[in-house]
Subunit: 116 residues, 2 copies
């Protein structure tokens, strides 16, 4: 993977991208509609942020029917994976990350159960 530190930090320099990454790291996999719901952003905005995270090499995606699921790339360099882990556990109990996770869990009609 072509993840240099430069790219890593600049792609995470946007609050919503950071929140997205943390949330995905905490849940293994999320689809666009779940992030749209939790972060309360317009769909094209989320899509573009996810595309940036993917282009930077941090996320991978898979399609399942109409949904596209994003997950953290498991083949990142060790130090990058560590940064993601340390960040996630560092912020887990703080706002807005804590609330994001709570909001996700309270979301009804999540896909995998049924639909978006």
């Amino acid at each position: 993977m072509s993840v240099d530190a430069d790219t890593f930090f600049s792609v995470l320099s946007h609050p919503m991208r950071l929140r997205s990454l943390v949330l995905i790291q905490q849940t293994d996999e999320l689809c666009v509609c779940e992030l749209t719901y939790v972060l309360d952003l317009a769909q094209p905005v989320i899509s573009r942020h996810l595309a940036q995270l993917k282009h930077a090499g941090l996320l991978l995606s898979r399609r399942q029917g109409l949904w596209i699921y994003y997950r953290v790339n498991a083949e990142l360099p060790e130090w990058v994976k560590q940064l993601i882990e340390v960040t996630t556990s560092g912020v887990a109990s703080t706002s807005p990350y804590m609330d994001d996770l709570a909001k996700l869990k309270s979301m009804s009609d999540r896909p995998n159960q049924n639909c978006c």
Copy 2:
């Protein structure tokens, strides 16, 4: 310290700020003239980047005569210190970080020895 993850990542999203932080972490303390030399930037540019790192809580500074030395804030939250350490060791053997350190070591007339 008021270092939230948001601030942390956005203040490090500029290549020169990241290089500065890594170099300072590797050397304990550096003055502005040393960074200006190594990074080959105009003095006001370096000063502003350092001010941003300081304002974000990552760096502290002390004056010694005409020079101002910057160092990593030792009282950062544990997870932030870990991020800095992991990043520094993650990039230490890569470019341009490796070369920056080499260039610093080859710098003559460093202060503390004599002057800038």
